[in-house]
């Protein structure tokens, strides 16, 4: 990674301008040519150093309900429980973690009752308890990764 790439990563994670020629504005701040900047951003996207470029939406503000859910499942049953949990399209992502509470997934649905319904079904099918942990307060979201 060269100096230009480092500058892009360190200075372009926030505040990309909203105007006719935002790359030109950004390029001036970074002391680069507009064309060079565009080329480097595209290359960083192409090689996977950047996972995306654009606006990051707070999707909870667009309606819909989200809930983090944990389960504590013994190892001998974990694969079958994972299969049940993952079978619901409302499960957006699911991680195994190294703790007694070893299954952690996020449910996304239109309404609270849909979320409650999916949790009830998972409990019935797996006979393990689900622990819903919806956000009560948000203190911070967003991290700047420096290189």
């Amino acid at each position: 990674m060269n100096e230009i790439d480092r500058n892009i990563i360190n200075h372009m994670q926030n505040d990309f301008p909203v105007c006719e020629t935002p790359f030109a504005v950004m390029a001036e701040q970074l002391n680069l040519d507009e064309e060079v900047l565009i080329k480097h951003v595209q290359a960083l996207l192409d090689d996977g150093t950047l996972s995306r470029f654009g606006p990051l939406y707070n999707i909870e503000k667009l309606g819909g309900k989200y809930c983090l859910v944990a389960m504590s499942v013994p190892q001998h049953d974990i694969e079958s429980v994972i299969e049940v949990v993952n079978s619901y399209p409302e499960v957006a992502h699911n991680y195994e973690r190294d703790h007694d509470f070893n299954i952690w997934f996020v449910l996304a649905a239109e309404t609270i009752s849909e979320i409650e319904d999916v949790l009830a079904k998972i409990e019935t099918k797996t006979s393990y308890k689900t622990y819903d942990m919806p956000k009560l307060d948000e203190f911070y979201v967003g991290l700047k990764f420096d290189v």
């Binding site: 990563i9 909203v18 996977g48 503000k61 667009l62 993952n86 991680y95 195994e96 307060d137 967003g142």
Partner: protein, 167 residues
């Protein structure tokens, strides 16, 4: 206890959100490119994007690095048991740390799950993550009754949350 926001959006906002949620075109005039695709006036697109930023629907605009690729491989979910009456103060302090990416208050489930403050921390290795955990513990002081860290061992599903049927 669930999150419940309602904001007035019209068809133009929805079209812009749908057209940009996967990203902006990497061209000299990205908002114009979006406007052209949606057959809208570029000035209107720029104005609406600014409005979406102002009301917090857009959190930020920029590049999103792949943190694994940048060497951040020790990503731990730290969880803390702090007194409920101190949660706001504790959350704000922990959320302000530069190595914390997400910081939330979530409900306990006693007696199984005593933790009510969640903070995701990111570092290149677990040794550094442990130093970060010590720093959080120091900042919380007596408010921290117990804590632990959970590392992910497997991604079981990752479809990502896309904006579907906007109301």
């Amino acid at each position: 206890m669930y999150n419940d926001y309602k904001l007035e959006l019209d068809d133009i906002d929805r079209k812009i959100i749908e057209a940009t949620q996967a990203g902006l075109p990497v061209t000299a005039r990205p908002y114009h490119a979006i406007a052209k695709k949606l057959e809208l006036d570029p000035e209107l697109v720029i104005q609406r994007v600014r409005q979406l930023q102002e009301n917090g629907i857009i959190r930020r605009i920029g590049v999103v690095p792949n943190h694994y690729k940048l060497g951040y491989r020790a990503n731990g979910m730290t969880v803390w048991d702090v007194p409920d009456e101190m949660i706001i103060d504790c959350g704000n302090k922990v959320g302000a740390l530069d190595f914390v990416s997400h910081c939330y208050h979530r409900p306990r489930h006693l007696p199984d799950w005593p933790y009510n403050l969640f903070a995701m921390v990111h570092a290149h290795d677990r040794e550094t993550t442990n130093q970060y955990i010590d720093r959080i513990a120091n900042i919380l002081g007596d408010a921290n009754r117990q804590h632990t860290v959970l590392y992910s061992t497997r991604i079981l599903k990752k479809t990502g949350m896309r904006i579907g049927n906007l109301q």
